[in-house]
């Protein structure tokens, strides 16, 4: 079993993991409405942007000797969350240098070459700065984090779209179980980027208003940015913990390259596999942080799966994307942090944006403004993705 000994989080809802619980309880939305440059003409949508400029994202103690100019925003968001995870885990940034620290991070935007000036110069046959391409070749998220902090150990960047961070945490927990490293950093990071905004708009998945997960009349998601990271250590580590990774399950729909299975076939199997690995039953789950994007299809499928999963009557199901937006490759990391904090607080706050719960859904979620004491210390954080990927973590709070 794997312990979570530190956590870090930055998103529109909170600039640190330590502030996240308060933000969840207040349910306040920090939304940017002036990002029309990210969207096609006439297609603006609210976005959940981290209101910190690039240069200010890097923690002060890491600025010295660092060339911020070569670090993209996704990297800076990741470094900030990793730094917080280390600090809350009782480590100084450089104290693990030379150790077997695994790094598993999910991203979507962070893996692409998206230097538009370079691309335009190439299209126009103009001379290009070779340093731009070299910088891309040296910007793999996990590799760069390892170099930045001076770590050795396994690493991977998971690019499973919106399930990336959930899978990264699951895979890192396998490393620890199999003895591949002593400590692991796992989660995800992603910045807002206009290609993603245009793409989601083209798929008609973006709402022009604030998203309303599981609410009647919901009509799409809002995009966001951020990073969420867990510091994982072996069970033997005698130290304060935020909880444990009990199980991880993942399954493909095998149905359609881009659309989810209408009955959530893959999601059902992923939940079942994660519960089985955790050695617990669906009735033991007290809290679920759903993928809950606010699109009509996603929320209907998740609700149908919950209704058939054998969950207890007293499980609190929420989506937190009404406060963070959909942060794509970071979502699973941020939501794993939220899940652990909620399990430790033993009280769930309702789904921000779910102001009129959709009565046609077969499973009721906790609506906006509601609160519910938890009936236990086990929770689920789950992600669904393009390509029919479904990934599920079973997490335990520290009291378990």
């Amino acid at each position: 079993m794997v312990k979570v000994t530190g956590l870090g989080c930055i998103c529109a809802a909170c600039t640190s993991g330590s502030a996240a619980l308060d933000s969840l309880r207040r349910g306040r939305r920090r939304v940017s409405y002036d990002l029309s440059h990210l969207f096609p003409a006439g297609g603006n949508s609210p976005c959940f942007q981290v209101d910190i400029a690039d240069k200010a994202l890097l923690p002060a103690e890491l600025v010295a000797g660092c060339d911020i100019g070569v670090l993209n925003r996704t990297m800076l968001l990741a470094i900030r969350a990793v730094h917080e995870a280390l600090t809350t885990g009782g480590y100084s940034p450089r104290s693990l240098a030379g150790r077997r620290v695994g790094v598993a991070l999910g991203t979507t935007v962070g893996c692409t070459f998206h230097n538009e000036p370079y691309y335009l110069q190439w299209r126009q046959g103009k001379p290009r700065d070779p340093a731009v391409m070299e910088n891309y070749l040296n910007s793999n998220l996990a590799e760069s984090i390892q170099h930045f902090f001076g770590w050795h150990g396994p690493r991977l960047v998971v690019t499973n779209s919106c399930a990336s961070a959930t899978d990264a945490i699951g895979l890192a927990s396998i490393w620890l179980e199999q003895g591949l490293c002593d400590i692991a950093i796992a989660g995800g990071a992603d910045e807002l980027y206009r290609v993603a905004c245009h793409g989601f708009a083209s798929l008609m998945l973006v709402s022009s208003t604030l998203c309303r997960p599981f609410s009647s009349g919901r009509d799409g998601l809002n995009l966001g940015e951020g990073a969420g990271v867990l510091l994982l250590e072996k069970e033997a580590a005698e130290k304060r913990s935020y909880g444990r990774i009990l199980g991880y399950g993942s399954a493909a729909d095998g149905y359609h390259p881009t659309a989810p299975h209408p009955e959530g076939r893959g999601l059902r199997r992923a939940i079942s596999a994660a519960l089985q690995r955790a050695g617990v039953g669906a009735g033991d789950i007290a809290y679920i942080n759903a993928h809950g994007t606010g699109t009509p299809v996603n929320d209907r499928i998740e609700s149908a799966v919950f209704a058939q999963a054998g969950l207890g009557d007293d499980v609190a199901v929420v989506s937190t994307k009404g406060m963070t937006g959909h942060t794509l490759g970071a979502a699973g990391g941020i939501e794993a942090v939220f899940t652990l904090l909620t399990l430790n607080a033993q009280e769930a706050a309702g789904t921000v944006g779910c102001d009129l719960p959709d009565s046609s859904l077969p499973f009721a979620v906790l609506a906006e403004g509601e609160r519910m004491p938890l009936s236990g210390a086990l929770g689920i954080s789950q992600s669904l993705a393009f390509g029919g990927s479904n990934s599920v973590l079973v997490l335990a709070g520290r009291q378990w």
Binding site: P40, A41, T108, C111, T112, F113, H114, E116, Y119, L120, W122, R123, R128, P130, M133, E134, L137, N138, N140, A142, E143, H147, P154, R155, L156, V157, V158, T159, N160, S161, D167, L171, I174, Q178, L180, R194, V195, H198, G199, S202, L203, M204, S250, A251, A252, D253, G254, Y255, H256, P257, T258, R265, G266, R269, A273, A385, F386, G387, G388, S389
Partner: protein
Amino acid sequence: MVSLGRCWHGGIEDLALHSSAQRTLRRADDFIRLAVAAATEVLHGESGSDIGLILCSSYGPMETNFDVLQMVIDGETVSPALFSHSVFNAAAGYIAAVCAVEGPLSTLTEFDLPFFRGLQQGWLAVEAGFMRRCLVMQVETYSRLLADAVADSGGGERWPSMAVCWSLEKGGERAVAMPELTPLAAKRRTLAGSRVQEKEGEHPLAAACRLTETLCQGGKEREWKVCSPNTECMIKYL
């Protein structure tokens, strides 16, 4: 115990997709087509929820990414199909749909020995019981922009689009130890020199292709060492 099963490597010219796959792939790019072809060759009709996939790539569907970027820059409405194909794990989704692979799917992005890092993850996934069989593949199709960047940097021959795919399975006869990756002194990568390649002057997928060829021909070696300037990987039969 984890064993090596079937393996395959090939390029665009080797594609031989059956008619139903061709229908599904009619709007897919070369990256997706190569990935599906590689999986089809190695699976030999096998399917199920106990089969998973680890798809690795350094560059992903780069040409499709630029096609989408061009539409955005031009102010055109982005094609929904093109956008959904531009995400790195679109190919994994197609493999799942075409080949009925319903176990865990992971797409990994890495510049340094991506195939061999994927092999290590696949070995762990099978050993830990997450799946009975794991397809591990690397797919690269590069892009015209990258080809020009390589040429501008004094690089050698144009890199061909290719895929390599191995099957790892629980049990079996060709048991292998977990691939061991050892970091060497970190060096900054450049396109021109050897630093992005596994061996000086070679195509980035050359080492994985050469090893696949050896395996397909039933080579007698018991262990192999693959090196990049930044990492060394050992693969050993038990």
